[in-house]
């Protein structure tokens, strides 16, 4: 199928493959056979056609241990922010090493990724501005939508979607299932009952 893709796409695909190979090669030797390569997305105004558009993001590759749940792994990589080299190359994100532990858990049900966060309000005070919200929202959504099973994303703070969307100045409506906390609670209860960790549901 690769041969049917347009040249630009083939080039992009081969560039990704090369980047992935480089990342895996750079990993410790014993980790190499276990590695999974994931994508995270950051802003970069040097690359963006419209530098003022805060919703334009660019992918970066990350190698993670293969056994880890991929949606959770991708978000953890995203929340750790760009590396120093990436920042020097113009990649920008509201996330940094200070927010590396932001993810509480993520699970996917019927095409919806439910992302439960530790309270980000003091950590990311600029994320509710129009540009900050676009950066935050686009980076999270694009990172999760690399998985074909994810069609939309609902976020919560400590299991409460109303807290997240209230912080963002967004009403509870059809787009966020009316901020119903039930999926977050249901998942927690099911995880407790089965002894399984909720965030280990993979994309």
């Amino acid at each position: 199928m690769a041969g049917t893709r347009p040249p630009a796409q083939r080039l992009r695909g081969s560039a990704i493959a090369a980047a992935a190979a480089a990342l895996i090669a750079a990993a410790p030797a014993e980790a190499q056979p276990q590695a999974t390569v994931l994508r995270v997305y950051f802003n970069n105004e040097r690359l963006a056609a419209a530098p003022d558009d805060c919703a334009i993001v660019f992918e970066r590759m990350r190698a993670v241990p293969k056994s880890e749940a991929v949606a959770a792994a991708a978000l953890r990589q995203l929340f750790a922010g760009p590396t120093e080299a990436e920042r020097a190359a113009g990649y920008r994100s509201p996330f940094s090493t200070a927010s590396a532990g932001l993810l509480k858990r993520v699970f996917i049900e019927h095409g919806t990724a439910y992302v439960d966060l530790h309270d980000p309000r003091a950590l990311l005070p600029g994320a509710t501005s129009s540009c900050g919200a676009a950066e935050f929202g686009t980076q999270v959504e694009r990172t999760l939508r690399q998985f074909p099973t994810v069609r939309r994303v609902i976020l919560a703070i400590d299991g409460d979607p109303r807290a997240f969307y209230g912080w963002m100045g967004q009403d509870c409506d059809l787009t966020n299932d009316g901020c119903k906390p039930a999926p977050f609670g249901r998942r927690r209860a099911r995880a407790r009952g089965s002894g399984r960790r909720a965030h280990r549901v993979t994309a």
């Binding site: 802003n43 105004e45 530098p51 003022d52 805060c54 919703a55 920008r92 994100s93 509201p94 309000r121 003091a122 005070p125 600029g126 994320a127 509710t128 501005s129 129009s130 540009c131 900050g132 919200a133 676009a134 950066e135 929202g137 969307y165 209230g166 912080w167 963002m168 100045g169 967004q170 009403d171 409506d173 787009t175």
Partner: protein
């Protein structure tokens, strides 16, 4: 007629409901924008997904005036984001029954713009533009509702919004601008004024002249000349009410143009008709 300004506190929905109950004529929530990129810097105004054309035109006018004042660009769609980005910020303004805007004139994360936000001159300029926009779009005066973004929320009392590059917080400085704008609105009676052309150096007025509401201004950089096209219309009387640009009716059920806007537009149309009659 004069303006009364009231600051509303509590969660955003409560503020809007209280302003509705008080029959405010206009609602302003002041924020500053923020980005992970320190060079981001443009003026933008969020209006509700159900915004009337008055809100949209008011927001566009304000964003353009700020961009001109601070030498930046306007963001969004000609200066406004209808419904915010993916609904973010929509809930801050969509529940009002009067025209409402959420202002993000400058970036708290941009070091140069943060300096302007902290400065007396920058705050005064923002306040002057806001007060002027209110006089222009709501010439009949009335109660104006001010809301300081982030601050005084019942559900999150410690929220102060984004950090200003170099020190300070978004909310504290938004409040300073609103306080200055409130003083300007309270100090001057809501006497309708005609369109004025002004030349300023910093905050100092060098030259001022009345121009027709519909006059087209063009700048010649080669001649250093600002040319006012001669429309042939009679000069607008000083006491005539100001026309509100393109105030129309919104498709959404929200409050549309303030009656004053319609009155101003009707007066401008009447002046034009009279002038045409004189020319004939």
């Amino acid at each position: 007629m004069a303006y009364t300004v009231k600051f509303y506190k509590g969660d955003y929905l409560q503020r809007q409901q209280a302003a509705n109950a008080d029959r405010a004529v206009a609602y302003v929530e002041h924020h500053f924008n923020s980005s992970a990129s320190p060079s981001a810097g443009y003026a933008v105004v969020v209006v509700g997904s159900n915004a009337s054309s008055t809100s949209r035109n008011w927001g566009r006018w304000y964003a353009r005036a700020v961009a001109d004042q601070f030498g930046t660009q306007v963001g969004g769609d000609g200066g406004i984001l209808v419904g915010g980005w993916a609904g973010r910020g929509d809930g801050n303004v969509k529940h009002t029954r009067m025209p409402a805007v959420l202002l993000e004139p400058l970036f708290a994360s941009n070091p140069q713009q943060a300096d302007a936000i902290r400065s007396e001159a920058g705050q005064a300029a923002l306040a002057r533009i806001l007060a002027e926009s209110i006089r222009r779009f709501f010439p009949d005066g009335g109660l104006v509702a001010f809301s300081v973004g982030h601050k005084y929320k019942t559900s999150s009392p410690n929220d102060r919004g984004a950090a200003l590059a170099g020190g300070g917080t978004e909310a504290d400085h938004a409040e300073l601008v609103l306080q200055k704008a409130a003083q300007l609105l309270a100090a001057e009676p809501a006497v309708p004024t005609q369109r004025m052309l002004r030349v300023m150096r910093g905050d100092t007025l060098l030259f001022e002249t009345p121009v027709d509401e519909d006059a087209t201004l063009s700048w010649s950089s080669e001649r250093n000349l600002l040319y006012i096209a001669d429309s042939g219309d009679a000069p607008v009387p000083r006491a005539a009410p100001r026309a509100v640009p393109a105030a129309g009716k919104a498709a959404a059920p929200k409050a549309t143009a303030h009656p004053a806007a319609a009155a101003g537009k009707a007066a401008a149309a009447a002046r034009k008709t009279a002038a045409r009659g004189r020319r004939r």
